[in-house]
Amino acid sequence: MSDPYFITVSVITIASAIIALEFRELIYGAIALAVTLLGIAIFFVLLDATFVAMFQITVYVGAVVVLIIFTIMLVRREAWLRLDEGGRRRVMGAVIALAIIGLLGALLAASSIARWQASESVPTLMQIGEEMLTYYSPAFIALALTLAASVVGALVLAKVDRGKGRDKGKGEGEGEWDEEESSSGFERGGELEGERKESVEGEER
């Protein structure tokens, strides 16, 4: 049967996943998400996958959650807290979730994995490295390119055009969509930028 560590960790993980989605304040939701990800990392340790656990803690708790928290602090507004999901939506979501649990649970009950015997041999770090760099090396290279492309894409998307306010002339490198946007969106964006700066300064004072 299950050991008490497993029960404790799974209760904490599932409870904090629910808190992450339901807690009113978004920052606390992000912290609850970090607890969920740490719980998953503890599961990995229980499964003798210490390298994956370390990777999980470094990437998720160290980078992803911190990035999310910084973004929340950057663009935070009180109005978000008053987004009402509506009762009907909530009920439908719960129904879908319960249906998924029921269907996959029935699938599990019908399968034979409950009778599997776990063996004593543990996949080692050496095996992981060997697989990653030999058989899966094309995937590894594609992953590296994907990461680089996504980082560049994120930087380009999040770039603030600071030169726009001072000189109206646009740089040669900018595309034509910029001109269309500047009439509707970007001017509002510009004044919003100012507002945000003021509010940040106000908080510091």
Binding site: L21, F43, P123, L157
Partner: protein, 102 residues
């Protein structure tokens, strides 16, 4: 030592919670949380099967590592998109973004 069924059940519950969040929430960041929870449920399954199969091998862990890296990239791009949308619409309500579809 917990058995594979226990890990699979935890993973299914996390998946259901994530799908609940994706369907119900209208806040962009909350939807990102839900996606993260779903991805982690999948990773948990991968690693659990990699260790607790009758003949364990490292492929599941390798795939989990790939999946974690992809999810990190996805969060970076998702947050950048959210910042752009917020700059334009001053809101991160998903309903407002319907205008993007033209």
């Amino acid at each position: 030592m917990a058995e594979i069924l226990d890990y699979t059940i935890v993973s299914i519950i996390l998946l259901a919670i994530g799908i609940y969040g994706l369907t119900v929430k209208r806040n962009f960041i909350r939807m990102l949380f839900a996606v993260e929870i779903i991805v982690n449920a999948a990773n948990l399954n991968l690693v659990a099967f990699s260790r607790l199969m009758p003949s364990p091998n490292a492929t599941g862990q390798t795939f989990a590592l790939f999946s974690i890296a992809i999810a990190a990239a996805e969060v970076a791009v998702g947050l950048a998109l959210m910042i752009v949308a917020y700059r334009i619409y001053r809101n991160i309500d998903i309903k407002g973004l319907k205008r993007l579809s033209g």
